[in-house]
């Protein structure tokens, strides 16, 4: 008996270890492998570029993380980002607004989308995925209607005749393209927001309340948490992150592209779920999300070296997502059967 129990414990520790450090070990293996193939891979320049390339997705994914923490889901982040992109660009190009307004108005837009989402979910009672799916649609429609289907760029011709008066300012473009202390500005922004989100979620009272609401809503209510308010806030935060991603995208690209966010939604979701398993936390968390985005970024960057046909990339992304999900849910199953 005793021996069997011991063996069982050992085995359990084994799986736990795998789950905890498996993801990180895998990442290290990938990095070593790619480095052995190409000298260009393991360089400072390449790594800062990878970080810059994931900065926008990471912001989106952080928003999704917040909604997942409270037990929801936000599928509308992609189109919120699209909307914020064109709003930002239009404020500069069409209306020649000062920089501070250009940065604040998109955030207000994000808050509004968050309010719409939480209204549908909390007040009307539509399940989160369906509610945010509809919002995704509506917001996408709005952003096209707003621009009449055109992308927004410096001195563009206007449908009303004439050309747009404004231009993207240098200061604004610096947000997306500049460098600071050897790192690109978007990387700084990403790192700061990851750290802020990490601290808020893991080291503040608010973070505990968010996790509580998602973990056991009933218990949270019994402890005096206004869970409806908490959910409202989570969706609003998600909207704000999506807006920031949009602003960053605009500054990076220097124009207001239509539908910029749509292809990023899936990547953001994948990042969050890959992040679930980081360090065996098994729940949505800010560091994991960043790590997830980084894994995907490194994988894609490295795969170009492997001569894989470009059209196979979706397969790899999908497979990584499936593996991350499988790890998460097989683990969850085990946990539940233990409880």
């Amino acid at each position: 008996m005793q021996a069997a129990v011991k063996r069982n414990k050992l085995q359990e520790r084994g799986t736990n270890f795998l789950f905890k450090f498996g993801a990180i070990a895998l990442l290290i293996c990938i990095i070593i492998y790619f480095s052995s193939i190409s000298d260009a891979f393991f360089t400072y320049a390449n790594f800062t570029d990878i970080l810059r390339s994931i900065s926008i997705v990471t912001l989106l994914a952080l928003g999704v993380t917040f909604t997942l923490v409270v037990g929801g889901f936000d599928l509308s982040v992609g189109s919120t980002m699209s909307l914020s992109t064109v709003v930002t660009a239009s404020l500069m190009v069409w209306y020649e607004m000062p920089l501070w307004l250009v940065l604040i108005v998109p955030i207000v837009v994000g808050v509004l989308v968050g309010l719409l989402n939480s209204f549908l979910i909390v007040i009307i009672g539509i399940p989160d995925l369906l509610a945010t799916l509809s919002t995704m649609y509506i917001v996408a429609g709005f952003h096209r209607t707003y621009t009449e289907g055109y992308s927004i760029y410096n001195n563009m011709p206007l449908t009303s005749g004439g050309t747009a008066p404004g231009q993207f300012s240098e200061a604004f473009l610096w947000i997306g393209q500049g460098r600071l202390l050897g790192l690109p500005v978007p990387v700084w922004i990403m790192l700061i927001l990851v750290v802020v989100a990490y601290i808020v979620l893991n080291h503040t009272r608010w973070g505990r309340i968010l996790y509580m609401t998602g973990g056991n809503e009933e218990a949270a209510i019994l402890s005096g948490v206004n869970t409806r308010k908490v959910k409202f806030i989570a969706y609003i935060i998600s909207g704000i992150f999506a807006s920031l991603a949009g602003v960053l995208f605009t500054a990076r690209v220097g124009s207001g592209q239509i539908d910029a966010g749509t292809p990023l939604l899936m990547e953001a979701v994948a990042a969050v779920f890959v992040g679930y398993s980081v360090l065996g936390i098994g729940k949505p968390n800010a560091l994991g999300t960043f790590f997830g985005a980084a894994v995907i970024g490194i994988l894609l960057n490295g795969l170009t070296i492997l001569n894989l046909p470009y059209y196979a990339f979706d397969i790899i992304k999908g497979t990584v997502l499936v593996l991350a999900l499988a790890a998460t849910y097989v683990y969850a199953k085990k946990r539940f059967s233990r409880a």
């Binding site: 009272r205 056991n216 218990a219 019994l222 402890s223 233990r338 409880a339």
Partner: protein
Amino acid sequence: MLNPFLSMKAIDKSFGNVNALKNAEFELKKGEVHALLGVNGAGKSTLMKVLSGVYEQDVGEILLEGERIRIRSPKVAKDFGIYCVYQEVDTAIVAELSVAENILLDKIVAGSNMFISKKKLNREARNALKQLQVVNISVEIPAFMLSLAEKQLVLIARALVSSAKVIIFDEPTAPLSLNESTKLFSVIKKLKATGVGCIFISHRLPEVFEICDRMTVMAEGTLVGTYNTSETNQEEIVEAMLGTSYSKDFPARKHVLGNTLLRVKNISRGEKVRDISFQVSEGEIVGIVGLVGAGKTELAKTLFGYSPYTEGSMEILGNTLKIKHPKDAIKAGLVLIPEERRKEGLFVQESLRTNASFPNLQNFSRLLFMDKKKEKSFAKEIIERLQIKTSSTETPLVYLSGGNQQKVAIGKWTSLDSSLYLFDEPTKGVDIGAKTDIYRMIREFAEKGKGCLYFSSEIHEVLGISDRILVMYDGHIVKELSRKEATQERILLYASGGKEE
């Protein structure tokens, strides 16, 4: 004598047409341990939920230190220092958070500082656990890794750190082992010493007599009486709890035993079903009785193939079977009326007709197509036969009362002509009238030569209906009693882990 610290006066509470509390009374002194006793459904939990702010009473008042208070929410109750360790611990535990965070949950929510220091949190939590003499729980692991008993300790610690004045324990010992219970009692004694009033709900009389100063007995939502432990005995309390009317429900029944229908040999599954052996004959009603959490439901589901047994064997009418899924059981002539009828037994959004025909669709279809006429006539038949109160065969079951729902859950199997029926707490949450109907149905099955297994924690019911009684404790069958041998006291003794000298 001092004024009572807390008193509840003339409390009424009803849910729809169920009067859970009628003119209920309760009072508690500072630093006493006060038991709240009563049979299942007597209203104990409801009364305590009123006190802890989950429900608000329809009528009546609550006084704390002589002042009228209104407890609108659990939060308000906690502000008054009233804490509850719920019967279902999982409703109050956040599985993902650490033990420390769970212990300090209320403090975190009510706190005002923005940052949370994990170190401080862990220290406070460790202190709280130390007060409870618990040293072997790490406060840093997530709460989902705890056992049921440990989770309960976390909830007690939570009350402790918030300097509660009143702690309600709703059947805390049900899932605990004897050893764990003893530990809990020493904690309660300590709480008492510091002036905290404890309300203790339990079905296990010996432990109640061990630790409580006074006890209040409830029946059917009303106060029966309050007794000092030193001035009463178990017989008096049991009588107060049961009243006298129960035997009327069960007229004597002549029964003829046929062949052995079911033979279960050394069946085990995990912790909750351990080495179970028994047999059931045609025309026999076998009661399986045990306290809450003894493993009755688990055993019923194991026999039915929902969570198949890992060891042992099963024979039906002499044929050894391997049942891996409920469909195998149904094919072999075994059916289960599950305990949680809304969750497991019925499709509450669907009509009575579709529910009734579901277990035997083949019978109600030609080729592939459903024969709605035949379904309807069957539905009408069971409505009539079981006296189900419903406006039509098409009414969704949500609109039916609990008792009538339960009749459907039983009646739906009658199109199958199975030979063995497992009833898991079939009268739970069912009113007196419907209860009588259900007893009658079960007896009719037996008279037709079916075997019936009746799982219940309500001892008087089991006594009334069974031909033979198996007592379960902690996943084992600890005693078999014939109808003649069985008494309320003996069953309670074995069900709470005791032994006759």
